[in-house]
Symmetry: C2
Subunit: 332 residues, 2 copies
């Protein structure tokens, strides 16, 4: 990692996931778009929670999950995101710190409670998320720790952060600071509907200088308004030096101006809950980049981490990713 204090600094919504199982009929009944994230207001969150079955609370948040994954690989990660001074905020803070991620964003003192995502997992393992952003909307430029951005080899921004307006401004500022310090910027598109809401802003940021882009098939097609994955891959090749595009069970494709590398998905006995699959894919890829692996190996580390997280409930690793990667001979 050269002179950098952190391999990766993640900036994202600080969320506790509230995960319950349900059947497909429940999603229909509540007019949810399966597999996607929708934003909900406090009153909607209360009503939906009342209708949901028994749940489990596990720390989440897209970039935060990625940071947890990097720590599990043995990397140095830091996270910036905003919780409130409440029980869920203490849970989020404990969980991310206890795995060794540097996190000290000042909790918001008043206003909305800590963000939560009400996640419904169907029997096929697909997850449908209903996020109440709460205190996450109070993340703004004031919370950006310049020293951390300048001290991180790579600043990783989650696309979900385009939704809270203050955060979107902070997002652009963080990218500017990182570039100015000669650091790299990575971006995840997060969700196709999120891309649809903020397409122009995403395109602007990418063209302005994103060094590494993560997206799944739906998201990259939505970004370039094409139906075909290959067309989307061609489009991103013209705008970004490096993109890692995931295709669920079909694996992923790493796109650079010069080459296109296909990576197989890692095998999974049973898909329990796909929450965090993209986040952990990013974790493996970013960790691989940080320790100087070639792109193919980065993709394999990414697939390995994604496979671990979808084999159990919750979006953070339950097994040491470092041990898994060593067992597979991907890292030493």
């Amino acid at each position: 990692m050269g002179d950098a204090k952190f391999d990766v600094l993640g900036i994202g919504n600080a969320i506790v996931d509230v995960i319950a199982r349900c059947d497909d009929a429940f999603l229909k009944q509540h007019a949810m778009s399966k597999g996607h994230m929708q934003l909900i207001l406090a009153a909607e969150a209360q009503a939906l929670y009342g209708a949901m079955g028994p749940a489990v609370e596990i720390s989440g948040g897209s970039a935060a999950n990625t940071c947890a994954g990097i720590a599990s690989f043995g990397g140095n990660a830091a996270f910036i995101g905003r919780v409130a001074q409440d029980e869920l905020g203490r849970i989020f803070s404990h969980d991310i710190r206890s795995i060794g991620v540097d996190f000290d964003t000042e909790p918001s003192a008043d206003g909305a409670p800590t963000a939560r995502s009400l996640i419904l997992v169907t029997p096929d393992g697909e997850r449908t998320m209903n996020t109440f952003l709460g205190a996450s909307v109070e993340l703004g430029e004031d919370e950006l720790d310049h020293a951390k951005i300048e001290g991180a080899q790579l600043t990783y921004l989650e696309g979900y952060l385009f939704d809270p307006p203050l955060a979107q401004a902070a997002f652009h500022e963080a990218a500017r600071l990182a570039a100015q310090a000669g650091r790299q910027v990575a971006l995840s598109l997060s969700d196709a509907f999120c891309v649809e809401r903020h397409r122009a802003a995403f395109r602007g940021l990418i063209q302005g200088g994103v060094d590494l882009l993560f997206a799944n098939e739906d998201e990259i097609c939505m970004l370039y308004e094409v139906e075909d994955f290959d067309k989307a891959a061609d489009a991103v090749r013209g705008e970004c030096r490096l993109a890692a595009l995931t295709r669920s069970a079909k694996g992923s494709v790493i796109v650079t101006p010069d080459e296109q590398i296909a990576v197989e998905a890692a095998p999974v006995d049973k898909v329990v809950d796909v929450t965090g699959a993209g986040d952990l894919y990013a974790a493996g890829f970013l960790y691989g980049r940080a320790v100087g692996c070639d792109l193919k190996t980065c993709g394999k580390l990414a697939s390995l981490a994604a496979a671990e997280v979808i084999s159990h409930l919750g979006a953070r690793p339950e097994t040491s990713l470092s041990a898994l990667a060593k067992a597979q001979g991907l890292i030493r």
Copy 2:
């Protein structure tokens, strides 16, 4: 269930479990007695939480878990226990209600927060519990809903409730009310150290009229101050009409004045977390009694429920126990 509104009314501590994995060295370092429950104060809870790894929050509480199990079998259960008006209290209340358990004990308005148990799970699946009782100590006779006790075929009391002094008084009163209404009283000994702390009180309650006693091998030996399981079984036979004694992987033994029935443990692929094993054993047994199964079948339902809960993290069923029991031909 005849004229009873509920199959079982459970009275216990209303707790949210905070479950983290650790190695045996961590238990030693923190001077914990592996496999047991110890009570901790607020400051100790804070210090221990700070030292623990990332955790998952899942509703727990011994009798509450039993009620959840009975509901999962399709039975009618009610629960009495005290939470605070805080986020963990809302989580506890949501989870137990959402599975169909009747729960409307007034939350305590001020004072201590909702109880939590910091649970460390070692790689062998054993759990070691550190419980901060919080608002649970504010459960007293005022919270006993007489109509519910009189309307439940069986009132089930968790031994852990002997620790909070107000609750112990409520415990005796609940047993008195149930007996007066011609209902049955069941008791779980909960933990060997808990038995050691309250041996005389437990013995008094049992002799005064407990219709059904649940205990594991350590607990029943601790109660009668004997080293040998058979001696403990003989002792309980003289004091209680029906006892179900669990012996972990060796299964369980049902003891009555006339017979002793051995029940095998149900097979488990991998023991992930034994938290709730005794609670779910009780759930299966009580449900069997409520629907009129013979004792052997009650024991099999109990083993089945215990096997389900130790195959995953957390102390409440993740699979419909009704469906499992039907698949095995234990109930129709």
